[in-house]
């Protein structure tokens, strides 16, 4: 057996310097950091399963009511959705750079990156709000005021789609329910993320993450990227069903 040299060195190193963030019950800084990121990953597992349930519901009804899902999906705003995808990717990119900035202990850069992450996150939510508003005006929000008129009689709305039979048109409500449930749950995660971002930015500003202690930034980065990934699936699944009947 080879002794694990790296770890022994590490161990010795940290026995002398006790950093302020070091919790008493961890033996080493290393142990604490790895426990933290492992814990974060486990939390993300629960998120996979949480969204997983909705993804399954989506899969089921998309196959059952494909025509309804097609026309309903075609009412979503692809440019806005695509722009939002880009915005979110950019936000994630800045987050990744933020982690790097923390790792190389550049305090100013870290703060800037966190702010950029936040700004793009907020931009995403803004676009989303605009989309929600559009759906509201079109009576596409499930519930009492939901209207299928646009799908049973598209010509009256200046659409070139094939009209749906009323029974199939009703099922567009399921699509929009899933649309709002999934993007809403996603947006909720974004909002929570942004609140945390404010807090982290403030702490970064105070220089808490400039000493090589990057765990909070790293772990938050995992969360933020996970939220991105969910959107990477939501976008094609919700916006891009059969986007070519017009040509």
């Amino acid at each position: 057996m080879h002794p694990h040299t790296h770890e022994t060195v590490d161990h010795a190193e940290h026995e002398h310097v006790v950093l302020p963030q070091h919790r008493h019950h961890f033996e080493t800084e290393e142990q604490q950091r790895e426990a933290g990121s492992f814990g974060m990953w486990l939390f993300l597992l629960t998120e996979i399963m949480f969204f997983g349930g909705m993804f399954f519901a989506y899969l089921l009804y998309r196959n059952w009511y494909y025509p309804a899902f097609t026309v309903a999906s075609n009412q979503l705003n692809v440019p806005e959705g695509a722009i939002n995808t880009v915005i979110l990717i950019t936000s994630g990119f800045f987050m990744a750079l933020g982690v790097w900035a923390a790792e190389v202990r550049k305090k100013g850069l870290l703060v800037i990156m966190l702010i950029l992450t936040t700004v793009f996150g907020l931009a995403f939510l803004g676009v989303k709000a605009d989309e929600y508003h559009e759906k509201y005006e079109l009576h596409h929000i499930p519930g009492a005021s939901f209207s299928t008129a646009m799908f049973t009689n598209p010509a009256a709305f200046g659409l070139k789609e094939e009209p749906l039979a009323p029974d199939m048109a009703q099922h567009t409500e399921i699509f929009f329910f899933l649309y709002f449930a999934m993007t809403g749950m996603h947006a909720l995660h974004m909002i929570i993320g942004i609140v945390i971002l404010f807090w982290l930015t403030w702490r970064a500003h105070r220089g808490e993450f400039s000493s090589g202690y990057v765990a909070p930034i790293e772990n938050f980065g995992l969360y933020w990227h996970f939220v991105d990934i969910v959107w990477l699936f939501l976008f094609p699944l919700l916006y891009l069903i059969n986007r070519h009947p017009l040509s």
Partner: protein
């Protein structure tokens, strides 16, 4: 006996009224019971084994007898034994249970069909001859009976313990069970799926009659109109015959003889027309468009009650030629006009005499 006479009477009455084993009143019962006894034996053997080991060792190796424990690491052989033997027993249970499952749920071809609609909180049985019963069911002994069941609201479950049959009654789709009662008598019907406040009141009685008595019962309790006849009226009053008149020029396909046939849909797939398909064709017509037709049929979702649907289905099932449709067209003219916007639940009621 030192027990007071009142108490004694109570005890006698109680013990009299209580059984430890349900009656075997259908052809399925012995099969179910056989598996049950096998499983009971398995449990007793397993329990005995565990009991003997635990008590045996406890007595043999209690501290007074065996002050010093001997450490043993384990034994792959022993562990393999008690992995494989239970596994084998469980697999036998699986195969046996699966065979029984298909025996219980595969109706024989010659079974007579009765419709059952469950709703909060009653059972409605509808015989093809037009006999309606609530929380009761009359069936002949010695004949396979199939129940085609549907729920109008939530999940219910139709259970006759003495027949060892039970199946969920699901909103929105037909399920079936079948049985062949052996002994005339009355047996409990329970709703076994929790369905709200009066779940425990959703009970009834199945009366098994000898074939002769059954014959008599059918004649006495008929209300005049068979299900198909009710369906025929509905067919007219809902305006189905406007499109399904059977004429060559009609906008909808001819429904005569459609039951049991295979239809080709516009998307190329083939479907067998059964009760469920007919029901779905009326409620969700656009989901399976018959090849060669335009998707113009309106949905009747929310306009016809489950009873009404059963009537329609039964009518279409029995439609063998266009003759009936033509006749319907005439009756509908002579009868009261069809309601323009039928409301749920009341439709079938108002149309029925």
């Amino acid at each position: 006996m030192g027990i007071s006479p009142v108490l004694w009477q109570f005890l006698v009455k109680w013990l009299h009224a209580s059984a430890l084993f349900p009656a075997e009143a259908s052809t399925i019962s012995p099969y179910t019971d056989a598996l049950y006894f096998f499983l009971l034996a398995m449990t007793l053997v397993g329990l005995l084994l565990v009991g003997v080991l635990v008590f045996g060792f406890s007595i043999r190796y209690r501290r007074e007898k065996n002050p010093v424990a001997t450490q043993v690491e384990g034994s792959t052989l022993l562990e393999a034994t008690w992995t494989i033997i239970p596994l084998a027993i469980f697999l036998v249970t699986f195969v046996w249970g699966a065979l029984l499952y298909f025996r219980i749920y595969d109706p024989p071809a010659n079974a007579m069909n009765i419709y059952v609609v469950g709703k909060q909180w009653m059972w409605k049985a509808e015989h093809p001859g037009g006999q309606h019963e609530i929380n009761a069911l009359h069936v002949p002994a010695g004949r396979p009976v199939q129940l085609t069941m549907i729920s109008q609201d939530v999940f219910h479950s139709f259970s006759i313990p003495d027949f060892r049959v039970k199946r969920e009654v699901i909103p929105g789709r037909y399920t079936t069970i079948w049985f062949q009662a052996t002994t005339p008598g009355t047996y409990h019907i329970f709703c076994t799926q929790y369905c709200g406040t009066q779940h425990s009141g959703m009970i009834g009685e199945v009366t098994v009659l000898s074939p002769d008595d059954y014959q008599k019962w059918t004649q006495q309790s008929t209300s005049g109109m068979s299900l198909a006849q009710n369906g025929e009226r509905l067919f007219a009053s809902m305006g189905c015959n406007a499109c399904h008149s059977g004429n060559a020029a009609a906008r909808g396909p001819n429904l005569a003889g459609v039951y049991g046939s295979k239809l080709t849909l516009t998307n190329g797939s083939q479907v067998l027309v059964n009760d469920a398909y007919l029901r779905d064709a009326i409620l969700n017509p656009s989901q399976h468009i018959t090849a060669g037709y335009a998707p113009i049929m309106p949905t009747y979702q929310g306009q016809i009650s489950e009873d009404g649907l059963i009537d329609l289905v039964e009518y279409i099932k029995n439609m063998q030629s266009n003759f009936r449709v033509q006749q319907t067209l005439m009756t509908s003219e002579s009868n009261q006009a069809a309601p323009t916007t039928p409301t749920e639940g009341t439709t079938s009621e108002t149309v029925k005499p």
